[in-house]
């Protein structure tokens, strides 16, 4: 249970970490480079041209490094004629390879270090300045190589780094340590001015890479493990939500279907309700729709109803803007979720090309009122009086909540259906069903 066996997660985490580490590294190298430029103030005037030239290589390498990770940086470099080949070798985080900014910075660090020690150091620098300059140059190179050691491409599995490259990764710290040791040998009198202990410390410093590498890997694995743990909990939570909404809705539908004489209209109504619930669940899962324990907005319900019925593009369905902002309690929302799809469905079945909806909560005692106006063929008296029609069933259902459905013919054709019921207690009133119980008791 300790290890994270998720290579893609490791790579993604390394990618996220390194893009920030890379930028932070460039900035800290910029500070070191600025320090090296300052040390030239102590250089003899005759040596300045070549010293400047040496530091310019390092500066160019750093600018290339910035360009390779800054948004738009590559395009900016590409505008300079003849740099297309260079830009093509800027490298990526996906593949372990030697890239142009890395080579330029490595060469620049070597040339910068050569100002203070090695084969052709600047003469006449104070010992402290020389030691400090050398330390800054080594640190500069140190950071460049560190980024190569913890490059995200080492964790990529698509494609994985070549075996030779993976072996090379293990040798990088040792090679770099040997290189610094070689450069810091007392090749000249000026180089010997740098205290031996400083040269030894700088020479062996790349071996610290192994520790940093191990720490980086541990952090990566820990992050991926934490992510996996969170995902596991999240999966169970999502399943719990799916069960609470979608599965329970289907269980009740199934339970009704299994009854001895299920009514087809009621099955249709329950099915439409289930489709709306599925759409709501999708909205909560991927659509950024907030799960509101206190109920929901009519606007969101309306959108789910239209998607569930599959008719928003075929027919012009409009919800009044003010109504969209109305919030219903949990109970009223669920009642509306049964009523609204049925009324819209009836309008569509009547051949409507336009459906307009309104919803309000008001009155004393408070009532929820949903109004659907359409330009369809209109209802016949038989549609309403048919004891097996969905309207009859809705009326009976709303009757338990001290409500009803009324229909009226529009002057310009079509029908307006108004469904209403006593609002839930969340609106500050005694719930309708408890009131009906009280009346029954009386």
């Amino acid at each position: 249970m300790r290890t994270a066996d998720d290579p893609q997660g490791m790579f993604n985490t390394a990618l996220n970490a390194d893009s920030r580490l890379w930028l932070a590294g460039c900035r800290s190298r910029a500070v070191l480079l600025a320090g090296m430029w300052v040390t030239l103030a102590w250089a003899p005037a005759a040596e300045l041209p070549r010293a400047v030239a040496q530091l310019l290589v390092c500066t160019a390498g750093l600018l290339l490094a910035f360009a390779s990770i800054t948004p738009g940086g590559r395009e900016m470099v590409a505008k300079v004629p003849g740099t297309a080949v260079l830009v093509n070798h800027f490298g990526t985080f996906r593949r372990a390879a030697v890239d142009a900014p890395g080579v330029a910075e490595g060469l620049g660090a070597f040339l910068a270090g050569s100002l203070y020690a090695g084969w052709f150091p600047l003469p006449g620098l104070p010992v402290a300045v020389r030691s400090l300059g050398l330390a800054m140059a080594v640190c500069y190179g140190w950071e460049v190589v560190l980024q190569a050691v913890i490059h995200p491409a080492w964790y990529n599995r698509d494609p994985p780094p070549a075996r030779a490259m993976r072996v090379f990764r293990y040798t990088i710290p040792a090679i770099f340590a040997a290189f610094i040791t070689f450069v810091l040998l007392p090749w000249s009198a000026a180089a010997t001015q740098v205290p031996l202990v400083v040269r030894i410390l700088l020479s062996v410093s790349p071996l610290v890479y192994y520790l940093l590498w191990a720490a980086f890997d541990i952090m990566l694995k820990a992050s991926v493990t934490s992510l996996r743990n969170s995902q596991n909990l999240w999966r169970w939570d999502v399943w719990g939500d799916a069960h609470g909404s979608v599965k329970n809705t289907l269980v009740f539908l199934n339970q009704y279907v299994e009854e001895p004489e299920p009514d087809l209209e009621e099955i249709r109504s329950l099915t439409r309700n289930a489709l709306v619930v599925v759409d709501e669940f999708k909205g909560q899962l991927v659509g950024g729709r907030a799960q509101d324990p206190a109920g929901g907005s009519v606007g969101e319900l309306w959108a789910s109803v239209l998607r569930a019925l599959g008719s928003p593009r075929r027919v012009r369905c409009v919800l009044d803007g003010e109504s969209a902002r109305v919030r219903l309690s949990a109970t009223d929302y669920q009642v509306a979720r049964r009523v609204l799809p049925d009324l819209v469905s009836n309008a569509l079945k009547a051949g409507a090309s336009a459906v307009e909806a309104r919803c309000s909560v008001g009155g004393q005692p408070a009532e929820v009122r949903i109004e659907i106006a359409d330009d369809g063929a209109g209802l016949t008296p038989g549609d309403i009086s048919d004891p097996r029609s969905s309207l009859r069933m809705l009326r009976s259902w709303l009757g338990e909540r001290l409500g009803d459905i009324r229909h009226s013919a529009n002057a310009a054709g079509g029908t307006t259906a108004v469904a209403y019921w006593r609002a839930d207690r969340a609106h500050g009133h005694r719930p309708a069903d408890l009131e009906s119980l009280s009346r029954a008791d009386a």
Partner: protein
């Protein structure tokens, strides 16, 4: 008789309403409902109800669970039946707790037919306890320590179960719960048997294969640790909502710690 349905789905209330209304013998019952356990607080005459159907999970509407509803109904002396989908594995601990602390009158599946609901209502109205074979699995045994008591031996077990769900390393669990590593190890050792029992007897799962010997599990202690940790971690993840439930914490606190050596069965303190 007045019946109240405590369920976040209005369809649950409808189902019970239709069931009792569709037969002359039960038509006289009046059914109402609330969407969350908290809403029971607002019903002034709760004690006048003759029966309550109680769901266990209200996550879409409330942080409270059915255990809290059972507490309120118990205080109001209202007979309660659990109305839940017991086919969901992550409800098992809630069911164990419900039957350990409250003795509900029955366990009714949400797939129950109208005829089944009517029969149940009629039986309870007559004052008899309905035959409910489904609930036998969750009832405390007549002898011995109930499964739930072995799972939550003491109140201090709850934070460790919570940490087991979110962490997959014993050191992290020890840090999060502020206990020693050896305490975590002894917790794993103490609870592995009851978890295996729940998995086998209540969830009908086969025990996992022993972990293969690897470098990470070399040594007797390491092997035992890995062998116990994985199943308990998975168990804690699956049931994390139970271990996070404030009502569970309250019930365990009220119950007090259990001494595993002595085995007197403590009967539910509540009558329903």
């Amino acid at each position: 008789m007045k019946i109240i349905v405590v369920d976040d789905h209005i369809a649950a209330q409808e189902t019970v309403t239709v069931a009792v209304a569709s037969d002359p013998a039960t038509k006289h019952h009046a059914v109402t409902g609330v969407r969350t356990p908290d809403e029971l607080h607002r019903i002034e005459d709760l004690g006048t109800f003759g029966l309550a159907f109680v769901d266990l999970d209200f996550r879409r509407q409330s942080r409270k669970t059915g255990l809290f509803a059972l507490r309120l109904l118990d205080q109001a002396d209202v007979p309660a039946v659990i109305y839940a989908a017991d086919d969901e594995d992550n409800r098992v601990l809630f069911l164990l707790a419900a039957f350990r602390f409250y003795r509900p009158w029955a366990l009714v599946s949400k797939r129950a037919s109208s005829a089944g609901i009517r029969k149940l209502v009629a039986t309870i109205e007559s004052g008899a306890r309905p035959e409910s074979s489904a609930m036998h699995r969750y009832q405390p045994p007549p002898r011995g320590i109930p499964v739930l008591d072995r799972l939550l031996i003491r109140a201090g077990d709850i934070p460790i179960w919570q940490a087991l769900a979110t962490q997959s390393d014993r050191n992290a669990i020890a840090e999060v719960t502020n206990v020693s590593r050896s305490k975590v190890d002894s917790f794993l050792s103490e609870h592995s048997a009851v978890v295996a029992e729940i998995e086998k007897e209540l969830l009908f799962r086969t025990p996992p294969e022993p972990f293969p010997e690897t470098r990470a599990t070399l040594g007797k202690a390491g092997h035992a640790y890995a062998h116990r940790f994985a199943p308990l971690h998975s168990f804690a993840v699956e049931h994390h909502r139970f271990f996070q439930d404030a009502e569970v914490k309250e019930l365990i606190k009220e119950r007090g710690d259990i001494r595993l050596t002595a085995a007197p069965h403590v009967a539910p303190r509540r009558r329903r």
